[in-house]
């Protein structure tokens, strides 16, 4: 079976503003991109947006395509860019509970010295494995995706995160005791 061949002449016509040529490219690219994004993220409602955004990228950037015969690589780049934006947009840093940038309303102790705890020291508590998992999470990957990337199970990944949180909680308690004891 032949791989899809996009006629470079047609791509050139689309670059020159030929709407029919562009619509034909669109008609053929759309199912291909849809199949790709379904393969990557599953049959999620976001697939439609990813497809449309990628087509927009291809459309907007078509003038930059110097070699009309390289449409595949060009479309690939657009799709990969779109995935990166997708991962970044997944998590909103504003937590659903206790946004740390707001005053900790539930901490009534005016002598609370926890704000002075060094975040860098807290990072040192993490094992290399836990740190890698958390970095991947902050990059925007789901835990199941992280499990695939690390060739393990989602359950094992979550166990690492839970353990890291508990370790950090214990370390923080010890650090706060020291802070209190030395009056730092």
């Amino acid at each position: 079976m032949a791989t899809p061949s996009f006629d470079p002449a047609q791509v050139r016509r689309a670059q020159n503003g030929d709407e029919r040529a562009w619509n034909d490219l669109l008609r053929r690219l759309e199912p291909l991109l849809r199949g790709y994004f379904i393969k990557r993220i599953g049959k999620e409602p976001d697939v439609d947006d990813l497809v449309q955004n990628t087509l927009m990228r291809v459309h907007k950037g078509l003038d930059d395509l110097k070699k009309p015969g390289s449409l595949k690589s060009f479309s690939m780049k657009a799709a990969l860019f779109e995935l990166q934006d997708y991962y970044r947009g997944r998590y909103d840093m504003k937590e659903t509970l206790y946004d740390p940038e707001l005053p900790p309303q539930r901490t009534t102790d005016p002598e609370d010295r926890s704000a002075h705890v060094d975040v860098e020291k807290a990072l040192d508590v993490l094992t290399p494995k836990a740190r890698r998992i958390m970095e991947l999470r902050e990059y925007g990957y789901l835990y199941r995706e992280i499990a695939q990337m690390l060739d393990t199970t989602e359950a094992a990944v979550k166990m690492q995160v839970k353990r890291a949180f508990e370790k950090m909680k214990d370390a923080l308690t010890s650090l706060l005791l020291l802070v209190w004891f030395f009056g730092l």
Partner: protein, 409 residues
């Protein structure tokens, strides 16, 4: 209860107003936990900031991979300049943040998948696989259950391509001795057929008309009659991929037949896994009874598997003699733990490896055999709870990741 709270805080996602209120009430009673949670968020923010400090523009990672993989024709002149200017920065970033190396590998996988999808589409832009239809078209719920998704084993790209090429050849050729991929040769034209295709990395469970279930581990394609017609033979076709069957025994003893491009497995009521990859069908039997044969063999031909055995059939090859197999390992790809009369201490070892925890067993329980099937994505506490219930035992948690099974008082 604390475990539930941790689970919700760390992995809870979107909460209803009632759930949020309940969690906040519980946190009111634990100011230390509130502080810890607040600092956890600060740590996460720091990690995020650090990622951004090292890689200010994520597109550079994509350009890096495209350049390495020979797609420099995709880069504009400006992008090429930006990549060259950032090359040292990228090398330093990958050295400083190990997760970036993992991310670069993932982008390579994404690139590979694009190549594969591009190659599988024809001139008209539509995918040319002989039985591919969307779940929407077939009336099935196509959305994979999030809880079902399993970790993907190392990507066997050559085997994927090999099995797809084989599936396409079978669709074209008239096959006498092996099974037709499209299923056209098996079902009368007037029979409605449901075809389910599961994407790579996804897991989907199909419930058939007779109550049997099929757990498909993507990439996989399965066809079966749209309606249970009470015939003497229930027949499904696994065109490619892997599936774990839990077949309900019928009162009329109708057999259940699983066909692949190279083999036929006939069962009466059982649990077994079938894997169709790289022109070879592999059948692993967990419970019940299965006969594995080439399609042209008579009812007396082929081999009969007993629980804990497997066999395989390659294209134009003979059916291999049954061999014993470790069920848990052989069915690892299903995303399930499958135990058949396995001593509890052996199960504990498996859980230790899988979850990276420490599970011990009281001496009075050692040697007790357990038969059962568990989802690997279940929290370890749930699996242990089920095991304890089976044994009439209790689970004691002795540390953050230490558990002990002891007899119930």
């Amino acid at each position: 209860m604390m475990e539930d709270l941790y689970e919700t805080l760390l992995f809870g996602g979107d909460l209803s107003p009632q759930e949020r209120s309940s969690i906040e009430d519980r946190l009111d009673d634990d100011p230390d936990l509130v502080k810890a949670w607040s600092h956890w968020c600060l740590v996460r923010r720091r990690l995020r900031d650090r990622l951004h400090e090292h890689i200010s523009d994520r597109r550079l990672l994509v350009l890096y991979v495209l350049d390495q993989e020979g797609h420099d024709d995709a880069l504009t002149a400006h992008e090429r300049e930006a990549l060259e200017a950032a090359r040292d920065e990228l090398d330093r970033a990958v050295a400083a943040v190990p997760a970036l190396e993992t991310i670069v590998d993932r982008i390579r996988d994404e690139r590979d998948d694009f190549e594969m999808v591009w190659a599988s589409h024809g001139e008209d832009g539509h995918q040319h696989q002989t039985t591919l239809r969307s779940e929407a078209e077939s009336g099935q719920n196509g959305t994979p259950d999030r809880a079902e998704r399993a970790a993907r084993p190392p990507h066997e790209r050559d085997q994927d391509r090999g099995s797809r090429r084989w599936a396409r050849r079978l669709a074209i050729a008239t096959v006498g001795l092996v099974l037709a991929v499209a299923g056209i040769l098996f079902w009368p034209e007037e029979s409605a057929v449901t075809t389910v295709t599961v994407a790579d990395g996804d897991v989907q469970v199909e419930v058939l008309g007779d109550g049997s279930t099929v757990r498909l581990v993507g990439p996989a394609t399965l066809s079966y009659p749209a309606e249970d017609t009470e015939t003497a033979v229930r027949r499904v076709t696994l065109e490619e991929g892997r599936a774990f069957f839990d077949v309900q025994r019928r009162s009329d003893h109708a057999s259940f037949v699983v066909e692949t491009p190279t083999a036929v497995a006939t069962v009466l009521g059982t649990q077994f896994g079938v894997s169709m990859q790289a022109d070879t069908t592999n059948v692993v039997l967990a419970t019940g009874s299965v006969r594995v044969a080439r399609e042209e063999e008579t009812e007396d031909g082929g081999v009969v598997l007993e629980p804990g055995q497997h066999s395989w059939v390659a294209k134009e090859g003979r059916v291999a003699a049954p061999k014993p197999v470790d069920l848990t390992t052989a069915l690892d790809w299903t995303g399930l733990f499958v135990f058949r009369s396995v001593p509890i201490e052996t199960i504990a070892e498996r859980l230790n490896q899988r979850y990276d925890v420490q599970v011990t067993v009281a001496e009075s329980l050692t040697g007790e055999a357990v038969t059962g099937t568990f989802e690997r994505e279940q929290p370890v506490e749930e699996v242990l709870g089920a095991l304890a219930a089976t044994l009439g035992a209790n689970v004691h948690q002795e540390g953050s990741d230490q558990y002990r099974l002891v007899p119930a008082p």
